[in-house]
């Protein structure tokens, strides 16, 4: 069992932590100056020997400075457990003292990035619900100490659960090997991944370009950006190659993304929580306790459906107005139907909701989407006619209009909601299909929204706010929405269960 006294006095991280902090500082500095470095390397031959000596001295001073800084950060980072509080002292010049009471701790996660994996230390992050400043990360602890800390924190929290924490690791519910990972990545939404990848590349190119223009060198990348659109359309071969290339890049970027985030995905069920470990460069281990999950979404797409796999997204409470919501979104991929059944059972999602009557949004929803897209397309055409003044671009309508129509219809077909006494199931999606399960008592507040157009049609939008974001039921008939509104309020107000 853990020696509780281990943390009663202030303790430091593992000395290896210096290395982790050092690497992080260097990486940050590199990220801020990488463009300068590229320019420097380009001009390397042009420097005189004398200047080079100074440059080398500069670099050494830089490195030593960061090393000292890392050491100071390390020695000034102290934590202990004191009377139901986790106390942290940090800061070299500007001292910071944080204490968190145990009942506010939402999660204790382990994480390992590449360096931490190499020197075998774990990063322990302590998440809290509430104010956003109290996310704490202890950069480097040995596995034993990390486990001990986790236990110490959860022990005081729930004294009764001492024994369960010591139980041997059970067989994982889900384990995704490399082969399976590959299979899953083939069925991903390649278009989306392609766009993410392109955005990254263009962002970097833009940055490079800015710098080169800034230092007086002419547009180096201009040649790439200056492709006349007519050439592409005229030469079908180039076009086909272009498309093929995009497809290859799309598939590759899906694969890389899946590999980075979900490598070696394992899911354990432990008593009342789910433990998920995944990631290649940054290995993350997350303990999700059941009560803290606000909603789950089960998603699939046509190809995945054929293979019988889907992915599950767990949503936890978001603290404050944090931007990095991804951290609170935990996703596991490659789930089979049986596994989903077990997860649902564990989270008390009563599967009978799947067989309830299915309600679809009012026709007005479809009309509104037509109307909005029509406006979008008209604006697009106006831009082509009056700003670009090149009528060849009008042919783009041949592609844009049918695709928009198709997407609208898919979206309308996939939108639905159904419910039983405890749970609401909301369906949405275009190519993918997402089903979100939300227990009524997790709702924080509820809204009815009605535009003047909706009023004429007697439909409203019903917005359910949860601790992990809002869920909208679009264009519900007014009287049905009011009944649901009253019922959900009744469920929330009569519920004895805590939402977190």
């Amino acid at each position: 069992m853990v020696n509780d006294s281990l943390f009663t006095d202030f303790s430091k991280q593992s000395p290896k932590g210096i290395l982790v902090i050092y690497a992080k500082l260097l990486f940050k500095a590199f990220k801020a100056t990488w463009i300068l470095l590229i320019i420097f390397i380009q001009r390397f031959s042009k420097f005189s020997e004398e200047t080079l000596v100074y440059v080398y001295i500069g670099i050494v001073v830089f490195l030593v400075f960061f090393l000292i800084r890392a050491y100071l950060v390390y020695t000034n980072f102290l934590f202990k457990i004191d009377d139901g509080q986790f106390v942290l002292k940090e800061g070299i010049l500007q001292k910071k003292n944080t204490s968190i009471s145990f009942d506010r701790i939402q999660n204790i996660n382990f994480k390992q990035n590449l360096i931490q994996q190499l020197i075998n230390v774990y990063e322990v992050s302590i998440e809290t619900a509430g104010s956003k400043d109290t996310e704490i990360a202890i950069k480097a602890l040995t596995y034993e100490k990390a486990q001990a800390l986790k236990m110490a924190l959860s022990l005081v929290k729930k004294k009764t659960q001492q024994l369960e924490l010591d139980v041997e690791q059970p067989r994982p519910l889900l384990k995704i090997g490399f082969k399976e990972l590959f299979k899953v990545s083939l069925t991903e939404n390649h278009l989306q991944n392609l766009l993410v990848f392109m955005a990254l590349v263009f962002g970097a190119l833009q940055q490079l370009n800015d710098v080169f223009i800034g230092i007086g060198e002419n547009d180096v990348l201009g040649n790439y950006a200056d492709v006349n659109p007519k050439d592409i359309f005229n030469s079908i071969i180039i076009f086909v190659i272009f498309i093929l290339m995009l497809i290859v890049i799309g598939v590759l970027s899906s694969f890389v993304r899946i590999l980075l985030f979900h490598f070696n995905l394992t899911l354990f069920i432990k008593d009342k929580s789910l433990e998920i470990t995944q990631g290649l460069l940054t290995k993350k281990s997350i303990l999700l306790s059941k009560g803290k999950i606000q909603s789950i979404t089960i998603s699939t797409n046509p190809i995945k459906k054929k293979l019988g796999i889907s992915f599950v997204t767990f949503k936890q409470a978001v603290s404050g107005k944090v931007k990095k919501q991804q951290n609170k979104l935990i996703r596991i991929i490659g789930c089979k139907i049986e596994q989903i059944k077990i997860i649902k059972e564990l989270l008390y999602v009563d599967s009978s909701v799947d067989d309830e009557t299915r309600y679809v949004p009012n026709n007005y929803y479809l009309l509104r989407m037509y109307f909005r897209s029509a406006i979008g397309i008209i604006i697009l055409n106006c831009i082509i006619l009056f700003l670009i003044k090149d009528t060849t671009w009008l042919w783009a309508n041949m592609l844009v209009i049918p695709v928009t129509l198709l997407l609208i219809h898919l979206k309308y077909q996939k939108a639905f909601y159904q419910f039983n006494e405890e749970i609401l199931l909301i369906g949405k999606g275009r190519v993918e299909t997402h089903g979100t399960y939300l227990s009524f008592f997790k709702v924080q507040n509820i809204k009815i929204k009605q535009t003047i157009f909706q009023k004429r049609r007697k439909v409203v939008n019903l917005v359910l706010q949860t601790a992990s974001g809002k869920i909208t039921l679009p264009c519900v008939e007014e009287n049905r929405a009011i009944t649901l509104y009253n019922y959900i309020l009744y469920k929330v107000e009569s519920s004895k269960e805590s939402w977190m």
Partner: protein
């Protein structure tokens, strides 16, 4: 639509509650606010016209005043309607607020989900002893409930009431 066990008709119905309007002095606050904003705008345009030559010689300069005047009246009407739509009600277990001109919104927050309650006073509102009541719930708090334009004493009373409900 059927829920077994529970008779729908017995549930408290939000559409059958009598709502209370916000304090009538709030209309004055709104008008004063618009007036002060437009005074500044008019002054700015006037000063630009008399002092900057390019703008003074701009042929359509009078239209700018016309647009400003039109905008002023449109906003005045919109705020007037908006004012009459702002209503709230406290029930045993929740607080509800409705408002909206083009988009009508009804929001209900159950007391059991309230994290904390705040009272704030804007400068012009303070002249009329008005305050606004902000109710926060967990999660992304941008979408919570704000009741603007109630008497400060009443706001304090409501705050006290809600605090009792949360803790009691």
């Amino acid at each position: 639509m059927e829920f077994s066990n529970i008779e729908i008709l017995q549930l408290p119905d939000i559409s059958k509650v009598t709502f209370k309007r916000i304090h009538k002095d709030h209309l004055k606050v709104l008008i004063l606010t618009i007036l002060s904003v437009f005074t500044i705008l008019f002054l700015a345009v006037f000063l630009l016209e008399t002092n900057v030559e390019e703008i003074g010689s701009f042929p359509y300069v009078n239209y700018i005043y016309l647009v400003l005047v039109l905008l002023f009246f449109v906003l005045l009407i919109a705020f007037g309607i908006g004012f009459s739509r702002r209503k709230y009600v406290l029930r045993d277990k929740d607080v509800t607020y409705k408002s909206g001109v083009l988009i009508k919104v009804v929001t209900t927050v159950p007391f059991s989900r309230i994290q904390h309650v705040e009272i704030s006073e804007a400068p012009i509102s303070r002249l009329f002893k008005l305050a606004s009541l902000n109710v926060f719930t967990a999660g992304d708090s941008s979408n919570d409930l704000v009741i603007k334009g109630i008497k400060k004493e009443e706001a304090l009373k409501i705050k006290e009431f809600i605090n009792q409900q949360i803790n009691g």
